[in-house]
């Protein structure tokens, strides 16, 4: 299997550009916005962008689901050549698995972040990150 990043169609480019845009938006949120909630949102957006990028790597235009169903295999012997032949036209399953994992992780991180935000708000009575600077130097 040969994977290429840049000889892609417009649609595929669109995936990448969108993903990069989302990442940039997320970064903007995380790095520039002063409110803790917005920072957390920015981080989540960032996560989403990365996941989109990840999934688009495995995208094959008009590909099928990567399942070797009995209908597909029929009575072919499971040699390497056959498997290769069959898997052409399937989307790559690995990025999907990765994205699933990444989403779960992102969820966990966001949950922890939000709980921390609550704690910070109770402690400091503000959500402005510039005012939460008890620990420095």
């Amino acid at each position: 299997m040969e994977f290429k990043l840049f000889d892609l169609s417009i649609v595929e480019y669109a995936f990448f550009i969108t993903a990069v845009l989302i990442i940039l938006i997320g970064l903007y949120g995380a790095l520039v916005k002063k409110t803790l909630i917005k920072i957390v949102i920015g981080l989540s957006v960032l996560d989403a962008g990365i996941n989109l990028l990840l999934i688009s790597v495995g995208y094959v235009k008009s590909g099928t689901a990567p399942i070797f169903s009995p209908a597909l295999i029929k009575d072919m012997p499971l040699t390497l050549e056959n498997i290769k032949k069959l898997s052409e036209g399937m989307v790559d399953p690995v990025p999907q698995a990765l994205v699933l994992t990444a989403i779960v992780i992102g969820f966990g991180v966001t949950a922890v972040a939000l709980s921390l935000v609550i704690r910070l708000y109770r402690h400091h009575h503000t959500l402005n990150i510039d005012e939460i600077k008890n620990l420095k130097w």
Partner: protein, 616 residues
């Protein structure tokens, strides 16, 4: 098992036992301490012979320990002074707390010094060197006074020196792939020119810190005066000699290869002389006896350094002789100060006076030591100074002679101050009930002081091992050669020419003393120091007749310009500048999480921008 191991195990085990025995009982602790040091001394001088070696491998490095005549000579200083100081310490330290800690550090520092003298490879040399540093540091901070100032100064400068040495050691190791000191010396001529210059510089940096040479001496006054006097005698007498030991090796085995136009030796000889002069001047200005002796130690080591740096046969001999002698008299003096401190509770000349009748034995020991320090015949100090002068004159260092002479003349000033300040002058009521120090403190002092007396007339006792040490270093030398080196020695073969002079001095002195004593024996009586004539009036009871404040004010006015700023002032300025810089640098961590995130992005962008130059 080899005896060398056993000596080290005895010392280490003894130190640990002493430390833990402290919890059980004081008597047990003292016994262990004394037994350890005595056993070490006995084992060392009876069982270890010159030429014994052992070698083993540790962490892939071949380490070798052994004893040669040169090391033996210095071990004599270490163990001789160490044993005396140990006896002294038992009485001096009585009743203080943290004694286990003190005795432990004491023994470990003795161990480390023996280790340095027995190391035949650079790594064990360095290890023992560092052990010596921290064990002595532990004692410097023992009293708890000024730990943040004097303690840190000491450890900081020691580390500076030690790391300079470490740099040199790894340079050597990378070059010749062996750590043996003799290999290093043998291959030294083949090193590149840059290394030939840098190696001795780095090594000498380390050694000059311990030998308290200008401008690396700033730790010494504080450290010497803060350590308990029982240890300071070892500190100044023996530990600083480790610096001299290293210097001798470097000078003999490395710098002698350098071409003369590098002026290495001259520079060092002059640094030694300047150290001697400034040390003396500062000693004169002190009102605290410990500080006075500390500066005096710096000055005395300056002479020794000069001797080493000049490096002719006689100069080296004088340096070695003075090194041992300095241990004797400075050991005595620090012990005397300790005795006074213990009996009166103060060591300030401005506070305590007129102890001569209360502490006569301490006075006698101090008097002998002071005479030896001042280099006045017939005591040992004169022999050493003489050899130094003669070697300087013979090797055409004329200006250096004058500098050294100035320093030793000015030394009379603080010598007199020491004796006058403590023992002479008005006998004030305040000190009426002071008693002589316990015998255990007085005896070591007297023994050491007697050593200086004996060496004045029979320097051969010490010159023979010194000569053997020099033969190890490669000075073509036989015993006959030794005696023909100085005009002091030539006619009497194995003893000095000074003998008839000594007899004449003693004869004259006794003759006039008898005259003075016999004449009017019945009528002359002792009167107190209050009973004096002051321009015909009899002073009243309340009149203060003690003269001790601003003792040498006129002299200090005359030399004022050289003493405006102390060297430590510049170090302090540098230090506080650095701290300000450090304080500024940590403001990078400004506490804002978002800023940290922006740092990450900046880091990324910078790498991306320069990726072609970074990852060629």
């Amino acid at each position: 098992m080899n005896m060398i191991y056993i000596v080290f195990i005895v010392l280490l085990g003894g130190a640990l036992l002493t430390f833990f025995a402290n919890r059980i009982s004081g008597l047990l602790r003292d016994t262990f301490f004394l037994l350890t040091i005595l056993a070490t001394t006995v084992l060392f001088f009876t069982k270890i012979h010159i030429g014994d070696t052992v070698s083993f491998t540790l962490a892939g490095l071949n380490l070798k320990w052994g004893l040669d005549a040169f090391g033996w000579y210095f071990s004599l200083i270490v163990l001789g002074l160490g044993t005396m100081a140990a006896f002294y310490a038992l009485s001096y330290m009585k009743g203080k707390d943290r004694l286990g800690y003190f005795y432990f550090s004491f023994l470990i520092s003795i161990l480390s010094m023996l280790g340095i003298l027995m190391s035949h490879d650079l790594v064990s040399f360095f290890i023992f060197w560092e052990v010596m540093t921290w064990s002595s540091y532990l004692i410097v901070i023992y009293s708890g006074r000024n730990v943040q100032k004097n303690g840190i100064n000491y450890i900081l400068l020691s580390a500076l020196g030690a790391y300079a040495m470490l740099t040199a050691i790894v340079m050597v190791y990378a070059n010749i792939h062996t750590l043996s000191i003799s290999e290093m010396i043998n291959t030294y001529p083949q090193f590149s020119h840059v290394q030939q210059v840098w190696l001795p510089v780095l090594f000498l940096m380390a050694f000059s810190v311990k030998a308290a040479m200008m401008p690396l001496h700033v730790w010494a006054p504080g450290a010497y005066s803060d350590a308990p006097m029982a240890y300071t005698s070892v500190f100044s007498g023996a530990l600083s000699k480790m610096g001299i030991y290293g210097m001798v090796i470097v000078f003999v085995s490395m710098i002698s290869y350098l071409p003369d136009d590098t002026l290495f030796k001259e520079t060092f000889a002059w640094l030694g002389a300047i150290t001697a002069i400034l040390g003396t001047l500062w000693a004169i200005a002190q009102d605290d006896a410990r500080k006075l002796l500390a500066y005096s130690s710096i000055a005395q080591l300056g002479y020794i350094i000069t001797g080493v740096a000049v490096g002719t046969d006689l100069a080296m001999l004088s340096a070695l002789f003075l090194a041992a002698l300095h241990a004797l008299f400075k050991g005595t003096l620090f012990m005397a100060v300790g005795a006074i401190e213990r009996q009166t509770g103060t060591v300030k000349f401005t506070e305590v006076t007129g102890l001569i009748r209360k502490m006569p034995w301490t006075f006698i020991a101090s008097l002998l030591a002071i005479i030896a320090l001042a280099g006045i015949p017939p005591l040992g100090g004169f022999v050493g100074k003489w050899m130094l002068y003669e070697s300087l004159i013979n090797s055409n260092h004329y200006i250096l002679v004058i500098a050294i002479f100035f320093a030793s003349t000015a030394a009379f000033l603080y010598c007199y101050k020491f004796l006058f300040g403590f023992f002479l002058g008005q006998e004030e009521k305040e000190w009426e009930n002071v008693k002589e120090a316990p015998a255990l403190m007085v005896l070591p002092m007297l023994i050491l002081a007697a050593g200086t007396l004996v060496l004045g007339t029979f320097p051969g006792i010490l010159l023979k091992p010194a000569d053997a040490a020099m033969q190890t270093l490669g000075y073509a030398s036989t015993e006959g050669h030794l005696w023909s080196m100085s005009i002091l020695f030539n006619e009497w073969g194995d003893q000095v020419l000074l003998r008839p002079l000594v007899y004449a001095i003693a004869g004259t002195f006794l003759f006039f003393l008898i005259i003075l004593t016999v004449k009017g024996w019945k009528n002359t009586r002792y009167v107190s120091t209050k009973d004096i004539s002051s321009s015909g009036e009899v002073p009243l009871e309340y009149e203060n007749l003690t003269f001790s404040v601003n003792f040498y004010q006129p002299f200090l006015r005359a030399v004022g310009p050289v003493m405006k700023k102390r060297m430590i002032y510049y170090y302090r300025e540098f230090g506080s500048g650095m701290e300000a810089l450090f304080d500024y640098s940590r403001r990078i961590y400004n506490g804002n999480g978002q800023t940290y995130a922006i740092y990450v992005m900046i880091f990324l962008v910078i790498i991306l921008l320069f990726k072609n130059s970074i990852f060629g």
